[in-house]
């Protein structure tokens, strides 16, 4: 008994070696982000004038510029609008497509499935010119839906691919049991099937969001004023007066936040998605 008490009191060294290495690694990764944050809280003079590890004249003026100037904050709104549009369209299209691929075999299904993926193999730059011309001629230029549609070219194949993997994991007998119980196809799909692949939907929404939020080239080519994205806005701050370092850094920090939030909310789904082997 005495030994037992002794053994519970005995402590291991208070930090594990692996934890130390991990912390150093994470700090290292965070350096650029810290530097961005650091710059966003400085004046342009301090950024350009001296080297300092933290802001000596702490200022929120840079953020104030973004929150008060419509050409800045509308960049965020525009981006969020077309990102959400894109996510909704991608899911709406990919869910039935993935269901068909996972449940039915039809002529050329495997080739079609692979062809979908090949759409992702071309860089967006290839499509910039045809999209610009096409959207201009049908009057879609500089609209949110234009960017959202352009991004579906890349997001739908990935979404189908991921969802098909999740759907394949659901036994077909569940579908049949539901029909036997009396569910029609659409009630079954909404009430029984969708909850079963909610992780997959989460993963897909995450990937659509990430691609669309980060993508610069198409969003810049397809918009000018009304639907100008935040990424495009940031690249257009190089003016005659030079680069406004502080404001640009503040914009950068604000651009990271939505992505970080999305990752935080879907992190468990992503882990599950990796475990299911299609992400």
């Amino acid at each position: 008994m005495a030994e037992l008490v002794f053994s519970t009191k005995k402590r291991k060294p208070w930090i594990k070696k692996s934890a130390v290495i991990m912390i150093i690694y994470i700090l290292f990764l965070l350096i650029p982000i810290y530097w961005l944050l650091n710059m966003s809280l400085k004046t342009n003079n301090e950024i350009l004038g001296q080297f300092s590890m933290w802001p000596e004249n702490l200022t929120f003026a840079n953020y104030l510029v973004i929150f008060t100037d419509p050409s800045w904050y509308w960049g965020y709104f525009n981006s969020i609008i077309y990102v959400l549009l894109n996510t909704v369209i991608s899911l709406a299209v990919a869910l039935p497509a993935a269901y068909a691929f996972s449940r039915y075999s039809f002529m050329g299904d495997k080739h079609l499935f692979f062809w979908l993926l090949t759409n992702r193999m071309a860089p967006p730059a290839v499509f910039a010119l045809p999209f610009f011309q096409l959207y201009s001629s049908v009057g879609l230029f500089d609209t949110h839906i234009a960017v959202a549609l352009a991004h579906t070219l890349f997001n739908v194949p990935l979404a189908v691919w991921i969802l098909e993997g999740f759907m394949r994991g659901v036994p077909k007998e569940i579908d049949e049991t539901a029909y036997i119980d009396g569910y029609g196809f659409f009630t079954f799909f909404a009430k029984i099937f969708t909850p079963l692949i909610s992780s997959g939907i989460g993963v897909v929404a995450f990937f659509c969001f990430m691609f669309s939020w980060v993508e610069l080239l198409l969003s810049r080519t397809l918009t000018s004023v009304d639907a100008k994205s935040i990424a495009a806005t940031m690249t257009r701050t190089v003016s005659a007066a030079g680069l406004d370092w502080g404001v640009l850094s503040a914009a950068g920090i604000l651009t990271i936040i939505p992505g970080a939030l999305v990752i935080y909310f879907v992190r468990n789904h992503i882990a599950k998605g990796f475990a299911m082997g299609r992400v």
Binding site: I174, T177, I180, D181, G182, Y183, G184
Partner: protein, 362 residues
């Protein structure tokens, strides 16, 4: 109420899964589809359910043609070998879901769910999610969902195959009770002859996409109408040997000759196939008239109470099932005995000529 299949066939991608089959199941009967894997049990069941549409032929329910009708409108119930429940719903909601779709009132649903849960012994589990349950409980939940509908046709496709031995025995003993309370036509697919006999009712033996015999289970067991049925309805499969009768003498394929006794003496002269069940083979002569064979012993397997003997005799593989743990020399010639009363006589084309005399007495 009755279910009638009339000349149904199913061909998928040019491959026949089920050959022309007719079958009529009466109200309130337990019907076992017995056959090895790929015999067509599941195919037949899916046609009964309306999950698949027969390539040709008709399905009638209470005399009404239901071929090709949507499965939602068929009002049937089915339980699969895999434990299929709705994982995101609680057990209560799982059982209630078919009733909710029938637009029953809340109190009616509650009453039905609770009484059905009572029958399948799941009353304490109603709040749990299916994946938190053991395999046996998951299957009970699936059974409850099938029973609660009160449908006239309940299809059970090897419902116990994925359960361990103990749970299987337990649930199998309860199924006849569930069946009696439902008053429905039960169709139960299994690969085990033992289950067909234990569940009682009718048995249809299947082999390579055909029903070989359909009758009361003991009747099929005792009087299989051909060699295939006999092989299917025997575990381990029935043993066979060639035999010819000339006058009152039987000539066996190993060159032995013996006097035909009992029923065998009434056989017409000619060539036959003789069959007997593994458990009728004995290591010691049961009586003076017993037939004696010299078989090559290849493998013995002990299950504790019994010993399986895998032997070769006259080009046929034989299996013997004897009591106790038998220590025998492998790869040696073993004398084994068979009471002539346990021999089935089949014609050379496989049709039954004469059932074993013990079976006709039973």
């Amino acid at each position: 109420m009755s279910l009638q299949l009339k000349d149904v066939t199913l061909t998928v991608n040019g491959r026949p899964h089920l050959f022309e089959t007719s079958l009529e199941l009466e109200k309130g009967t337990m019907n076992v589809l017995l056959g090895p894997t790929l015999a067509g049990k599941t195919t037949l069941m899916r046609l009964m359910a309306g999950l698949d549409v027969p390539t040709s032929g008709k399905v009638y329910w209470n005399g009404k043609d239901v071929t090709g009708m949507r499965v939602q409108d068929r009002h049937i119930a089915m339980v699969y070998q895999q434990f299929i429940n709705y994982p995101t719903m609680s057990v209560y909601d799982n059982i209630a879901s078919p009733l909710r779709l029938m637009k029953q009132s809340k109190s009616e649903i509650d009453k039905a769910v609770r009484s059905t849960a009572e029958i399948v012994k799941m009353s304490d589990m109603l709040d749990r999610k299916p994946l938190e349950l053991s395999g046996g409980q998951q299957q009970r939940c699936a059974l409850a969902r099938a029973l609660v509908k009160g449908s006239g046709l309940v299809l059970l496709d090897e419902p116990l195959a994925n359960l361990d031995y103990k749970l299987r025995e337990e649930l199998r003993a309860e199924i006849p009770k569930m069946f009696e309370e439902s008053g429905a036509i039960f169709v139960y697919a299994t690969t085990e002859p033992e289950e067909a006999l234990l569940l009682g009712g009718n048995t249809a033996t299947l082999w390579e996409g055909r029903i070989t015999q359909f009758n009361k289970a003991p009747e099929v067991y005792h009087r299989p109408n051909n060699m295939i049925t006999a092989r299917v309805f025997s575990d381990p499969p029935m043993n066979f040997l060639k035999l010819s009768k000339i006058g009152n003498q039987l000539f066996l394929d190993d060159g032995q000759a013996m006097l035909a006794t009992g029923n065998l003496s009434k056989l017409k002269d000619g060539k036959y196939m003789a069959g007997f069940r593994p458990n009728h083979l004995e290591l010691n002569a049961p009586n003076d008239t017993a037939m004696k064979f010299s078989a090559l012993l290849n493998v013995t397997e002990y299950t504790g109470a019994e010993t399986f003997l895998h032997m070769e005799h006259g080009g046929h593989n034989w299996v013997g099932l004897v009591e106790g743990t038998q220590k025998l020399d492998l790869n040696s010639i073993l004398p084994v005995y068979l009471d002539a009363g346990h021999i089935y006589i089949f014609a050379e084309d496989g049709a039954l000529v004469m059932p074993a005399s013990y079976a006709t007495a039973a």
